[in-house]
Amino acid sequence: MRKLSAFNLMALLLGFAFLYLPIVILVIYSFNASSLVAVWGGWSTHWYAELAKDAPLIDAAFISIRLALVSATAATILGTCAAVALTRYGRFHGRSLLGAMIYASLVLPDIITGLSLLLVFVAFSIDRGFWTVAVAHTTLAMCFVAVVVQARLIDFDMELEEAAMDLGATPLRTFVAVTLPLILPAVAAGWLLAFALSLDDLVIASFTTGPGATTLPIRIYSAVRLGVKPEMNAVCSIMVGVVGIAVIAASLLAKFNPARRKRAQF
């Protein structure tokens, strides 16, 4: 590998500092003993202990986790189906249009997704609450899942499915016994990604939520509007940890391919 020049090194450091310095500061200040956010008062886990006593915040955290589990699972199922349909069934009419449309919610501003979903729920007079947010998050995340799974399916060997059918497996059995195990890492990566997305979404959730379904980001946002409490630093640090682990695990899984393992030895 080429050695980094001083300029490149500088650019790299600045870039990463720009990205991660705020998060590092957040995490450090979550261990601040002082009750004033901007004043350093020595190390302490006081605010983490304080968190455990904050019942509404704990409730919001549980709602968020439940929401993330439900919407990630639904998004994974729908996204995988979409990816399979788009890569499997060759050139059907409007294929490329549908393929491009999958990316819509990746690039669409959250505000628009949130607002349009709100309009749908209002138009059909659906009471907003946990399930409306779950539906909204599923909509958002399934596109990410579809993209991740599609990437794996593109280099999937179609002959394996033909071989399974040739050996007497029905199309459904073929999917369950051959296709799914082979794309499982990508599916799992998609699930984790969907989980992380749901956990940290504020905008769409605030559009589509209703009474009794205050998610953690909404709770934090409303708390911070009244002034930043060191407690919030603590809860955000925990979220950074959870989402970070999910994203790292997802990217490791996406790279992992059981079929490719040790292929290099031939």
């Binding site: 060997d157 002959e159 199309p171 082979l182 079929a259």
Partner: protein, 354 residues
């Protein structure tokens, strides 16, 4: 047993299989031989059910397979790249097909063990496909099909991925296995020597059509057209008009005679085909000047067991002769640039009318 009637398959505007009819008999080893892109693999995939025909029928034991999906056809296919399931070990790969039949656990275990012994894979049951050599993977693929006891086993270039020595051995193993199990094999290959060795009958394919279907000997000795003669082995062709007696041909190099009567009108254009190994090279003109051409040696390709002589003959065209290096020849050796006489027996030549 397997009958193909007027089968056609078009991809966009190209006909991959074109009004093709074929009969394969019970217990036969049938080879589909043709250059790449001649539609032989498409024909196999049509029989397996992965492609839908545009016209025609495929009958197995008298039953039309058109409405039968691939997973219900009593036909199995061995893929060129084997298509082993990478997430399953050897045993599970072989058992896969039996599990779909809903057999009991004991029966599956028994049949898998039997077939693994047959293809000498007993000790590899727990390995994954990526931990096997090419030859072992080939045998897993074969075992996975055989364990299903198919009515017809389709093999798509089964030996193409193996190196040469292994390929030679595996050919004979494949033949022995087919005889022992009494199964019907249909193999697809572009390698003419492979088809000649393994098959009871060969169907030579070109551009979606079967050009000739016959035994390997028949195909080689009595090809029915110039294309087959040229595709299967090497051949020297002499163009000429058929004489009145029906066995002699007036060509640019003189009068040529063949043993069998030619089925064409006197005066029609025909071709006399002679295999290079049936040509004799002598320094002196042969006593009866029949089927004899004067020529010059251009170059000699030494292959060890054979030498291939490229010659320029009197009418300005090229000719090939293959002479076995038997070692005890008392004749003077032939060198490049030398003037020689080429001759062949009327029995060694075949007349082709198209």
């Amino acid at each position: 047993m397997l009958r193909v009637e007027g089968l056609s398959k078009r991809f966009d505007t190209v006909a991959a299989v074109d009004h093709l009819s074929l009969d394969v008999y019970q217990g036969e080893f049938f080879a589909l031989l043709g250059p790449s892109g001649c539609g032989k693999t498409t024909l196999l995939r049509l029989i397996a059910g992965f492609e839908r025909a545009n016209a025609g029928r495929i009958l197995l034991d008298g039953i039309d397979l058109a409405a039968v999906p691939p997973y219900r056809r009593p036909v199995n296919m061995m893929f060129q790249n084997y298509a082993l399931f990478p997430h399953l070990n050897v045993e599970a790969n072989i058992a896969f097909g039996l599990k779909q039949e809903g057999l009991s656990r004991d029966e599956i275990a028994q049949r898998v063990a039997d077939i693994m012994a047959l293809v000498k894979l007993e000790t590899f049951g727990r390995r994954r496909p990526h931990e096997l050599s090419g030859g072992q993977r080939q045998r897993v693929a074969l075992a996975r099909c055989l364990v299903k006891r198919p009515r017809v086993l389709l093999l798509d270039e089964p030996l193409a991925a193996l190196d040469r020595k292994l390929r030679d051995e595996t050919r004979f193993e494949l033949m022995a296995l087919q005889r022992r199990l009494g199964l019907t094999f249909v193999i697809v290959t572009h390698d003419q020597s492979e088809a000649m060795i393994v098959a009871d009958r060969i169907g030579v394919m070109d551009r979606g059509r079967l050009v000739q279907v016959a035994s390997p000997v028949e195909i080689y000795e009595r090809p029915n057209c110039r294309w087959v003669a040229d595709f299967v082995g090497n051949v020297n062709l002499f163009e000429g008009r058929l004489g009145d007696d029906g066995t002699s041909v007036e060509s640019a190099t003189g009068r040529l005679r063949v043993a069998a009567k030619i089925d064409a009108e006197p005066g029609a254009w025909v071709w006399v085909a002679v295999r290079p190994e049936k040509v004799r090279i002598t320094h002196e003109p042969p006593p009866d000047l029949e089927n004899c051409v004067a020529g010059t040696v251009v170059d000699i390709g030494y292959l060890g067991d054979l030498s291939i002589y490229n010659l320029l003959i009197s009418d300005g065209s090229r000719m090939k002769a293959a002479i076995a290096n038997s070692g005890h020849s008392t004749e003077r050796t032939i060198r490049p640039e030398e003037q020689v006489w080429l001759s062949f027996l009327p029995e060694a030549a075949t007349a082709l009318t198209r």
